[in-house]
């Protein structure tokens, strides 16, 4: 028998069909009430034919999607019957099998990296959303604790105005300036400190100490010092981003190898020439590391700071008052915006990093 599946994939396939078979048997008495789910069960059980004839990976993907749609379309108002949980299992197994086979195909060079490589995390994310939706609705999780994604999506669509205003207040006004100032200050201080071994010996332990400190704790202090508006939020972001940048840059400025430095010495190069032509470029990967860390820290810092007093706009404000007003789906919509903005911010920095430190082995992918 030609083996187009690894053992692990085979187990997944068996779980999927097994759930299908069991689910079909259990849903026989109520066949008419949820015809879609019953069809899904039947098809899943049918997929056992893969034991004798290979089935395409795309078929598994289609089954996962069909299962998800069937489930969501026929979610009952009350508690979900047990065999629906089997359908959820089966759909998850199909999705997992699908991504397993896709990545195997990419590894073997049968599918292109670009495109398919993006599809896999997307499938995973969608699977998470489906499980979330089905579990919250199927298990009657109180919506004031965890609303289903569909409700969050509806809020997201309905409140674009508010969400946008909050985004502008928090992200554009607080995060971006704070991030820029904090990172720049960290960079400049690192360079200044680097010139003097004495200062370096004095500042670095303190810098390390400070970067371990729960900086969010200073949010109430910053609000006290810089007022309610975005300035205090930006100040928190500055404080949160400063130390990672300082510590990383100082490490990075030492990253140039002894031989690379010796080369500069043989040219009798000046301090600034060595800095600009050797040490800063060599520090690039470290600086970007800090920029990436900071991109996630900055948003969190700004949102946290808004818990300690704000004008009546902003993501943190909306989240805290939303909880108070039990507008939990709005809170989650806001969280979704934060996650998307944060991920996009991170992604942009990562892209820039690829462009700027193209020469680094971690970017160009090994060899030499």
């Amino acid at each position: 028998m030609r083996r187009d599946l690894s053992y692990f994939q085979l187990y997944l396939a068996l779980i999927a069909s097994g759930c299908g078979l069991a689910g079909f048997a259990m849903s026989l008495p109520t066949l008419g009430t949820a015809p879609l789910v019953a069809t899904f069960f039947a098809l899943a059980a049918l997929s056992l034919v893969r034991l004798v004839m290979p089935l395409s990976a795309w078929l598994d993907g289609a089954m996962a999607v069909f299962g998800a749609v069937a489930l969501i379309a026929s979610l009952p108002a009350g508690t979900m019957p047990i065999h629906h949980w089997l359908a959820l299992f089966a759909a998850w197994a199909f999705a997992w099998l699908f991504v397993e086979r896709l990545s195997a195909a990419i590894r073997a060079g049968r599918l292109p990296e670009t495109g398919t490589g993006v599809l896999i995390p997307v499938v995973f994310g969608l699977a998470l959303l489906v499980v979330w939706e089905v579990v919250t609705r199927g298990a009657n999780v109180p919506p004031v604790l965890l609303p289903p994604p569909s409700a969050i999506g509806a809020r997201l669509a309905a409140e674009t105005g508010i969400l946008w205003a909050d985004f502008v207040q928090t992200f554009i006004k607080s995060v971006i300036p704070g991030y820029i100032i904090g990172c720049l200050a960290g960079l400049v201080v690192a360079i200044a400190v680097d010139r003097s071994p004495f200062l370096k010996a004095g500042v670095m332990p303190i810098g390390n100490f400070m970067s371990a400190l729960p900086i969010i704790g200073i949010a109430p202090i910053m609000v006290m010092w810089f007022g309610f508006d975005w300035q205090s939020k930006a100040a928190v972001v500055v404080a949160m981003t400063f130390f990672p940048m300082l510590v990383n840059t100082v490490a990075g400025l030492n990253a140039a190898s002894a031989m690379e430095r010796d080369l500069m010495t043989t040219y009798a190069a000046s301090y600034w020439q060595t800095l600009m032509k050797l040490r800063l470029p060599a520090a690039g990967p470290f600086i970007f590391n800090a920029l990436k860390i900071n991109s996630t820290l900055a948003l969190i810092g700004a949102i946290v700071a808004e818990f300690f007093g704000t004008p009546v706009v902003g993501m943190g404000f909306r989240i805290s008052t939303g909880v108070g007003r039990l507008a939990i789906d709005l809170v989650w919509a806001e969280i979704a915006v934060a996650a998307v903005a944060g991920s996009a911010f991170y992604g942009v920095i990562a892209l820039i990093e690829r462009g700027v430190t193209f020469w680094h082995p971690s970017v160009r992918g090994g060899r030499t």
């Binding site: 195997a104 604790l145 004495f198 969010i216 109430p220 949102i303 909880v323």
Partner: protein, 288 residues
């Protein structure tokens, strides 16, 4: 000596600057007070003294913070709920449990990621995205949700702490477990070693430096997680709660004291991981 002197110098500079700023920032309020009390032309030295001894200063002077730390730790019984040591212990226990869980989760995910292509591709982007979620916003819901199923006190805090601390561990361990060079892996292949052997004899020991580097970041973040969780879970106390109640009552000195204790705790924890690292390094024959 050579290492301590520069640190002391910089510390001294910071403390001096701090005292100056304390005068500057507390002056407006002091002027108001003096004005109301009808005091005029207070000599500067006395005025500085006044700004350094306000009850609820905008910026407490260093000695006020130190005094509060002293009063709230040494001067009190350890079990007293006013003792910062007591609150530090509460935060510490959540931190340690969260750190242990986070490290376990991080290592587990890293193992899955390096052994399985599909996990690598599907998990990594979401792991990054998970860290962009404002945890403080989710924390109350986690606390309430877990409270509804009967989990209160330590567990919700630790879970939030875990949520923050697993991230550096996954990232570091994925790097670390992949750090063996091809030649070292090939060697294992020439012995026809099984994946289990490759893991325990090669990948795991090779990843130790990465594990410890991540754990140093992780434990500091764990502490942040515990403090954040306490902001959403006032019962039971903890440094986060002290921060919060300090902030409601305008007790700036109390805020700063809690903050410093937290920082000290973080430093101690990082140092402990550091010495564990040294012990392991020595066991693994690292250069002195």
């Amino acid at each position: 000596m050579n290492r301590v002197f520069p640190v002391l110098t910089v510390l001294l500079a910071i403390v001096l600057f701090w005292y100056v700023m304390a005068v500057h920032m507390n002056a407006p309020w002091q002027n108001q007070l003096n004005g109301r009390a009808g005091l005029e032309n207070v000599p500067f030295t006395e005025f500085a003294q006044q700004t350094w001894s306000q009850d609820k200063p905008v910026l407490p002077a260093p000695h006020q913070v130190v005094g509060e730390i002293w009063n709230a730790t040494v001067a009190l019984e350890l079990t007293s709920r006013r003792s910062l040591a007591y609150h530090a212990w509460i935060t510490l226990s959540a931190t340690l449990l969260g750190f242990a869980l986070g490290t376990g989760l991080g290592v587990g995910l890293a193992v899955a990621i390096i052994h399985n292509d599909a996990s690598d591709r599907s998990l990594m982007p979401w792991i990054i995205a998970s860290q962009t979620i404002p945890i403080l916003a989710v924390a109350p819901m986690v606390v309430v949700g877990l409270g509804a199923v009967g989990l209160t006190g330590l567990v919700p805090k630790s879970l939030i702490s875990m949520y923050l601390s697993f991230f550096p561990v996954v990232v570091g361990m994925v790097k670390g477990l992949r750090s063996p060079e091809n030649i070292q892996l090939d060697l294992m292949r020439t012995y026809d070693a099984n994946p289990w052997q490759v893991f325990w004899k090669l990948r795991w020991p090779a990843s130790m430096p990465f594990l410890f580097a991540s754990m140093k970041v992780g434990i500091a973040i764990s502490l942040i997680g515990a403090v954040v969780a306490e902001l959403s879970n006032a019962s039971g106390g903890g440094l986060g709660v002290r921060l919060l109640t300090g902030s409601y009552n305008g007790q700036t000195i109390q805020i700063w004291a809690a903050l410093f204790i937290a920082a000290g705790l973080a430093a101690v924890l990082v140092a402990v991981v550091g010495s564990a690292e040294r012990v392991v390094n020595r066991r693994m024959g690292a250069r002195a």
